[in-house]
């Protein structure tokens, strides 16, 4: 094996590309959960985003319409969840699971006509700078706009929650909807907005898979990434920067284990395959040991329905 510095850069770039859908979906779900709503429909919203993006791209030929359409589709399907859990006060867990099952089913139905059609090439930025700086060039340049957005999102999310007034309102609603309501905050409205935002990010994560990462549509193509994104939110203790770390470790180990196989490292392949799951959880648990911080960042009313009149 040639250990040249550009090779390392290439590997890091593949790791980052594989982490994108996890970061997008996790950061979206994080905002939803910080407002006190547990939406287990991430996988369903992602797959809806994947088919909507791919279908719109094929039908309209416009990548911009497709990307925004996928986000809108995520918003629409999460509106169903918001209406059920916030207006009709149904159980979050059951409704979220139903959303996932619904999403997988309906995406397969819409997708029937889109199987076996090749996707379009998605434009990348700064392609010309690809060979300028050793190691850093493949990491920094030649990626899609969604890639750059995903890697700024955790920082923006962190800033939003900590430094902005609306971020504070979201946290207040998630910690104590009663107090927030007494302060004159419309709890239902805030939660609606956070659910819809989560839907948009999951839709974008799905579109990244079907339009940029592996440009094609096949059923169940999200392959459980929605569930991994959900787990990342919990194990990162609702901290967007730790989500970034977790997503990189997960993506990194998946790719590095393939490299280890190709090099011929004599470790049982089954163990290598399980490695990303095990190590990601261990690392996130270890870096999130501070129980005081966990208490501060855990939305206390997560998953509990809020009735305005009681």
């Amino acid at each position: 094996m040639i250990v040249d510095i550009n090779f390392v850069g290439l590997i890091i770039a593949s790791i980052m590309a594989s982490a994108v859908p996890l970061i997008l979906a996790s950061c979206g779900e994080l905002i939803t959960e910080r407002s006190g709503v547990l939406n287990l429909g991430v996988e369903g919203m992602m797959i809806i985003g994947a088919i909507s993006g791919f279908a719109l791209m094929t039908v309209t030929g416009s990548l911009i319409i497709a990307v925004f359409g996928a986000m809108l589709a995520g918003v629409l399907i999460s509106t169903i969840f918001a209406f059920l859990t916030q207006t009709l006060i149904t159980n979050h867990v059951a409704t979220g699971l139903a959303l996932t099952i619904f999403g997988i089913g309906i995406s397969a139905m819409i997708g029937k006509n889109f199987v076996g059609i090749p996707g379009k090439e998605f434009p990348v930025l700064f392609e010309g700078l690809k060979d300028t700086i050793p190691l850093l060039s493949p990491i920094l340049f030649g990626h899609s706009i969604v890639f750059y957005f995903a890697f700024t999102l955790p920082f923006m999310t962190s800033y939003f929650l900590k430094k902005t007034k609306i971020g504070l309102i979201v946290r207040a609603v998630g910690d104590s909807p009663e107090s927030a309501s007494n302060q004159g905050i419309n709890v239902r409205l805030v939660r609606y907005a956070c659910i819809l935002y989560g839907g948009a990010m999951c839709g974008l994560a799905g579109a990244y898979l079907s339009m940029i990462y592996t440009p094609q549509w096949i059923e169940n193509m999200t392959g459980g990434r929605g569930w991994i994104a959900l787990a990342l939110v919990v194990f990162s203790t609702w901290n967007p920067i730790k989500i970034l770390i977790g997503a990189m470790i997960f993506g990194g180990l998946t790719i590095i284990q393939f490299h280890m196989q190709a090099i011929g490292v004599r470790i049982p392949v089954q163990f290598l395959t399980a490695l990303p799951y095990i190590v990601t959880i261990i690392v996130l648990v270890v870096i999130s040991r501070d129980s005081r911080k966990i208490r501060l960042s855990t939305p206390s009313s997560l998953g509990k329905s809020f009735h305005k009149d009681n």
Partner: protein, 356 residues
Amino acid sequence: MHKFLIRSFVSSLVLLFTLTVAAVAKDVKAAFVYIGPTGDHGWTYQHDVGRKAVEAAGFKTTYVEGVPESADAERVLRQLANSGHDIIFTTSFGYMNPTNKVAKEFPNVKFEHATGYKREHPNVATYAARFYEGRTILGTIAGTMTKSNVIGYVASFPIPEVIRGINSFTLAAQKVNPNIKTKIVWAFTWYDPGKEAEAAKALIDQGADVIAQHTDSTAIVQMAEKAGVYAFGQASDMDKFAPKAVLTSVENNWGPYYVDRVKAVANGTWSQKDTWHGIGDGMVVISGLDSQMPSDLQAKVKKLQADLASGKVHSFTGPIYDQKGNLMVAEGKTADDGMLAGMMTYVKGVEGDIPK
């Protein structure tokens, strides 16, 4: 009174006759049980293309997709057998035991199990395709087209079907180019585009300039296209997904077999058998060859294809040695079907160990 009796007797005779005729001319109904969704554009998709051929031949068909290889399979099979289906195709290896178990309960229904070897009851037949013949052709092309002499191979699960493919591919590649190395990466999935793309990327980053696959999605050929290396389509013609990368594809063509077997049920000539068809019988089809291949290679491939079809050439012709150098097939001999069906050792020249 007499008149009435006669009339009712005649009318019941007519009724009886109609019923008998109806029973004789009763339409044969075929059912298909799929492991994945028909939208996978791979394994299940190709079986469904076969089912449509049966439909086009004038028979009624039903299918159930996404059936797990567990007790669920038995439940689905029982239900299909109970609801008037005359022949049921179970299209995944893991349906082997459920198929035989349910076949015992429904002796009048014919069962056809793909890729298995158990035929415990007279109403169970098995069928499979000699995909390894297609891989002999891919190996020949890969060995000729590689410049780095490193060939990447994305594998799914360590079962004889996959090992046989790796061996057949490597033997053919070595024959045209003794310096090649086959690097194998196990993805432990039949289809997950993201994972498959990552596995292919790892192999390309490690210097592979031709990528073969034994997983189902088109993600690998697309990744090859992006990286500017060669690849081969799996199960269906994947050329349009990666026009520059795909040199050819090995297609699964189940339709003719399915139509044959359903017709046999209709004619009452169906009998138990084990079918293992290859290029010769048209169950394994090689798609068009890419124009990037030099013309002498194209001619060589066409000849090889004809020789494999006629039986003049066998993919596993001795001498074949395993990784440790033990003789597997003696000089001048070919591997028999029993050896092929249970093949769980790599041949010499394949790197790494089979995951246990």
